[in-house]
Point group: none
Amino acid sequence: MTSPQPSTVTQALSPKGQRTRDRLLAGARRAFGDSGSYVETRITDIAKESGVAYGSFYTYFDSKEQLFFELAAAVVNEMYEEGTSRYRGDDPTERIDAANRQFLASYQAHAVMMTIIEQAAALYPDLRELRRELRGRFVERIRVNIERWQTRGLVESSLDAHVTAHALVSLTDNFGYLWFVLGEPFDEELALRTISSLWVNALGIHKQ
Amino acid sequence: MTSPQPSTVTQALSPKGQRTRDRLLAGARRAFGDSGSYVETRITDIAKESGVAYGSFYTYFDSKEQLFFELAAAVVNEMYEEGTSRYRGDDPTERIDAANRQFLASYQAHAVMMTIIEQAAALYPDLRELRRELRGRFVERIRVNIERWQTRGLVESSLDAHVTAHALVSLTDNFGYLWFVLGEPFDEELALRTISSLWVNALGIHKQ
Amino acid sequence: MTSPQPSTVTQALSPKGQRTRDRLLAGARRAFGDSGSYVETRITDIAKESGVAYGSFYTYFDSKEQLFFELAAAVVNEMYEEGTSRYRGDDPTERIDAANRQFLASYQAHAVMMTIIEQAAALYPDLRELRRELRGRFVERIRVNIERWQTRGLVESSLDAHVTAHALVSLTDNFGYLWFVLGEPFDEELALRTISSLWVNALGIHKQ
Amino acid sequence: MTSPQPSTVTQALSPKGQRTRDRLLAGARRAFGDSGSYVETRITDIAKESGVAYGSFYTYFDSKEQLFFELAAAVVNEMYEEGTSRYRGDDPTERIDAANRQFLASYQAHAVMMTIIEQAAALYPDLRELRRELRGRFVERIRVNIERWQTRGLVESSLDAHVTAHALVSLTDNFGYLWFVLGEPFDEELALRTISSLWVNALGIHKQ
DNA sequence: TATGAATGAGCTTTCATTCAT
DNA sequence: TATGAATGAAAGCTCATTCAT
């Protein structure tokens, strides 16, 4: 099985066409969400959920695979947007806390799609690439901050910023998976505070 | 789709039958490993890889699902066994380092099966349970240690041991996924040392 | 499957409409010619080749079938026109030679459409009728000549003119198929001369 | 559309498998015969006619195309076998007459399949090749005879044996098509005698 | 037990035709 | 008339599961 390129250039569509295409994407998101599984969501389900005829699916997408790539990219982008901390202050501790809270809230909102993306990633190597890309963007943002903080003496300089950023993203990312997908129960406030403490400690930030 | 109980009690099999059954499990592991995907591995592939007739599969297993559950449980057990630190000393720092190294080595060895289990988990809720169980055993071991270390004043007592254990397992677990499944490249020694440092820092252990 | 009557009476069309209709027929001929197959030529292909909107096809034709019937009739007529010997002399030998050369040249020009008509004839019995009609016109012309030549003592009178005309048309027709459709290679001049000799011999015409 | 190689080597099949395969080929022949069309005969029809489950078709053939190639080759072989003159005498006139009668009888028996092969030939170039091959075998046999007769002074030596053989085969072949497929009515005895006379005349054989 | 052929539900995809604009 | 999006019936193919030997 090969992986299709996500259609980067969406060719000119009539307004009506664009609307149907959008309905299909939205319907697909619901359909995937309902079944909770990439393989078990049929084109029929997507069409039905979109209120569109079966055949119309193929007017806009070559295959389920192609649609899913586009959808996955959109979700991943949304998560990235939502994960951008709205906290603009200078204090690392508060910044970390704000970011983690935002990320986990976003994870909760997109938990099902994230699971499905994970599942599909086992099928399509290209999707793994997408997954790495998303991570990469988060990680990069964090790496830059770590280095800045290291320069300012706020973070232990012996830590490798790149590995550290990856590892801390892993911590929060996988904790979100555990919490919202696997369904491990946690006390919300306790969990959030602990996660942030672990980041702060791990980086060697001295609480003020 | 419902999830079958893994057949906990294997009923009396002749020695020959037991051998065929084992060959099927071993062959299945190779077949899943080769294709890297639960859905794309056919019963034919498993039978062929096992050197067993197509139809014999159903003499020993009710379905592909049932076999997979048993296989997944076995893999998960192996990982747990391998993840049991052979370091028996008392120093937390060394203990953590040894455990992380062992866990990640084990992850690398089982990376493909772990991905497939992840994929199948999206299909069968029961598998998610299994996944949580494995995690739970690791986490429990770590939680016990953390609490012991907290009692001895080696670890910050303000941290919740349960959440902390989960979060740190997430860190290592997901880092393994990133490294060995998504294929993010890391310098081995740097990565391992950094991971361990982050654990030690996070727990507030004072390096000696 | 039933066969539609070719619309013999084209109802009143505006001049613009007539032009679009003609473009569709011309475009269809090109489209069929390009694909070389009735079933594999899509309405889209025809519309695209005609520079006409998809839906407009159905403004002028009820179905692909109907258009094809009209097109086939046109092609068949053209072949008949082209097959009408421009040689006006009285010598049977020269007349036969001229007719064969013209027919085979015409066959070559229309080879692809002839194959497609053959293919479609298997789908629509009415098309077989059309095929027989074309043949019938050629055959009739030849039968008349044979009888005339028999009256004048130029052709063996023991031959049945009807069967003979059919058989000789078969000879040339199928030779054209072999040559231009199946692609059997022949030296052009040798082939043409031999064909004519065979006709002349077969009819028992004494070369002068 | 590409044309598959007819599976030249039928790999070892169990006797039961061989039987099912044969039933499919026989059933397909009936199904094609009933519908009279390659494209309109569905795999379902073939399976039903063979008294075999739908899926079993794919146990033995990759596609309708592949089965058809094998079937077409078989029919073509049968025609060749049946077309081998059982007349073993030395008289050209009688030999020609016997061969034409046999060929046309055989054509009548296989008329429907021949039409379908013709239709499919428009779809698959490889089938055209097969068609040419069959012709080639007939033609070759006739060419050899013509040359032999030329050596013995029985046939006009100015005729090119290769082109002549092809042209005469065309005559009989296409006459068969006209008669048995297009359904042009002929008096049997008159037609057969005329055809033979035309061959004899065309070759310049002196009736004894 | 072992074997592998047989089964058929289920899914994807195509495309002639309809229809709203 | 012209347009091209929408429709959905068909058809091909796959593969987990059953079953006769």
